[in-house]
């Protein structure tokens, strides 16, 4: 009989997840308990991660065109939602989800200019004039 895991978000909402979906997470796999609290991840985000796990647990062949389309839809979200999803997937160590999400960010960056990169990475101090100047040097 398959176990049921309970994932608790930082805002105290609990999600029940079947074993097959839950074990896509290395963190859950190596946990001794079936009740896991995911710190710093709110219900809205955790719910989406659970949705991804459920979808991937039920589909046998991940190379299926339908699931690829579903995955593409899944990652087409706002930048800040994307980052929150990455953090959650990283904490739960769901490699394939981290890969898909980081690939999506990579694709978004490829299409954008330096200016927008500044807006998405606020942890770095950026001088706009210097940027403009360096850009004109062909780099």
């Amino acid at each position: 009989m398959s176990r049921v895991f309970k994932l608790k978000s930082s805002d105290n909402e609990t999600f029940e997840v079947e074993e097959a979906a839950a074990l896509l997470s290395e963190t859950i796999k190596s946990s001794s308990s079936t009740e896991i609290t995911v710190p710093n991840v709110k219900a809205e985000i955790l719910g989406k991660v659970v949705e991804w796990c459920n979808k991937h647990a039920e589909s046998e062949d991940t190379k299926d065109q339908l699931i690829k389309e579903w995955d593409a839809e899944f990652v087409s979200v706002d930048q800040h939602v994307l980052f929150k999803l990455i953090t959650a997937a990283d904490y739960l160590q769901i490699k394939e989800l981290v890969d898909q999400l980081t690939q999506r960010v990579g694709d978004m960056i490829k299409a954008k200019t330096l200016k927008t990169v500044e807006m998405t990475y606020p942890t770095f101090n950026v001088e706009r004039e210097v940027q403009e100047e360096l850009k004109s040097l062909g780099f």
């Binding site: 990283d90 990169v117 780099f139």
Partner: protein, 368 residues
Amino acid sequence: MGTKRSCYSLGEDLIVEILSRLPVKSLMRFSCVSKEWYSLTRNSYLINIHLHRADSNLSLLTHEYDRDKRFNTDPKFGISMLGDEAADLVSIDLPILSNSSKFTNIVGSSNGLVCLVARVKKKRRKFMDSAEIIIWNPVTKQFRSLPKPVLEENFHRFDRPTLGFGFSDDNTDDYKLVNIFHKQVQVFTRSTNSWREVEGKGYPSCKYCYGDFWVSLKGVLYWSARTDRSKGRFVLSFNLRDEVFHVIQLPSGNYWYSRLLLWKNSLAIVSRNQVWAAKTDDSDESGDNNKIVWTKQFSIDFSISRCEEVFGIWKDQVLIRRHISRYDRLYLYDPITKERGKLLRKPDEKNYYGYGQLVNYVESLALV
């Protein structure tokens, strides 16, 4: 659109995951944004992961132009990159050297770095005196000139050393060069930035041996070599990890061309219109686990056999060089379907006359 700032800062590991999926050109743009970005793009963890995700189907193709036979000047050297599509031949700018040296050939290409030799043409000078060894990353555009090995004096001034370049393992931090001149073998490592003499274990017992065409595969360098005794050709290999040589004999009875190739991840060689590949013979009971067996892979039906030859391998297809009166052209040949592709666009220079080398290449952030 206001400055909507994400209040989430991802850890460095995740940022590296994202950056490793971007092409080198994008990463080089970011390296100018701030000190933190700059040091990130030089981070060996990122460089390694990025290299492993990179497309390894690229090749560099060299060509020569402006050779003035009357005045016997050295030809000029140009380089292009053969990308994913054969029609994608993109010209690349070579580094600009401060003296009037001209590039002559590529000594090695591995993990995104290319080792070039440049020479200042001076009469009556021994080879190493007028040569410069350059390590270059074509996509980050960094390059530097390496200290030269000191060669023993008592040899004929036309004797040339054999040079090789590569990484001994998958670590992109430390590359090696090997210089073979008569019986003197020296190795250069990036970490020490200097040359040291090595034993040269396994080096053939000939007075002078020179390797022209080379390929590198899994940390081993291979040269198509001949000795001073002119007793035919053999393949000389040098393992960058344990710094040991091996001599690989070629099957007798065929006339082997000097060009070496890589065919489906094996060392390969050409005999007229046939391509043969090498495999280690596991069934050999003599205990010599370095015994190599050569097997014919395919034959090519050249239409004008005197003017066509095998030039290289690109994405499991053969690049065939056709000599026309004033210059060379290349086209692709599929050994399975036997289809011939269109002629590749020839280099732009007016006095272009011929192709030089085709070497495997991958774009990376590796530091020179």
